[in-house]
Point group: C2
Chain length 138, copies 2
């Protein structure tokens, strides 16, 4: 693969990712708050320390982010039964609804974009999908 294609592929991926993100823009939650909701959706209920590691922020920062999400009703936070120091933080029904709505919007935007392609172009993207997945995960 030529260096030219390498660059164009990179640029296209970066720009596309920005546009996907923008397609579900939302004034209600901060980026950090949204990110926590996605982490809870993808990795399940967990402690504050675990969340702060995953999000690569310090525990005090995660305390604030989670407090805001509890106040606005997107997550629940309860002490663990076996260890009163530990919090168990999970999505509430409102949090789950938010995740679904965000995914729905991104899906809708992306589907619309794909609709502008030919059948042949879509076929190539289907072939490329597992390869891009491999690149992203290796």
């Amino acid at each position: 693969m030529t260096s030219e294609v390498n660059q164009q592929l990179r640029f296209a991926i970066q720009k596309l990712a920005r546009r996907i993100r923008a397609s579900s823009a939302d004034e209600e939650l901060s980026e950090a708050q949204r990110s926590v909701l996605f982490t809870l959706a993808n990795h399940g209920t967990q402690s504050l320390g675990s969340l702060s590691e995953h999000e690569q922020v310090t525990p005090p920062t995660m305390t604030r982010t989670v407090s805001a999400l509890v106040s606005s009703g997107y997550v629940s936070s309860t002490s663990a039964e076996d260890d009163a120091r530990r919090l168990e933080i999970g999505l509430s029904g409102k949090g789950e609804a938010f995740i679904e709505e965000t995914r729905r919007r991104r899906d809708a935007w992306f589907t619309k974009q794909l609709g502008g392609l030919s059948a042949e172009q879509r076929r190539i993207l289907e072939l490329a999908t597992p390869i891009l997945k491999e690149l992203a995960e290796s």
Copy 2:
């Protein structure tokens, strides 16, 4: 294209974009500062107002971001000859070197990732590249 492929392609693109970004991580400049440097590299010397529109921040914010970049030597800022109100903000040699270095790092990371693929997989990505570009720009 099935909804399943749509989602997988979206996820792969978002994750890959995050990894490309992380591959050129840098402690020296803030995200806002880096973004301004890329805008100047891609769209050339321009006024502060033009920059603030492009970056979608307010002029006072851009004043601060640009001041920091001038202090650290990444950009130059001079009054326009035909209108003393307007600033002409452009990359300095150091700014250009930063852009080149960042691109080089991302390129190197991406090339390494591509190296793990088969010739057939790379061929498919070559075919997919202009299609992804079209998706990103339509």
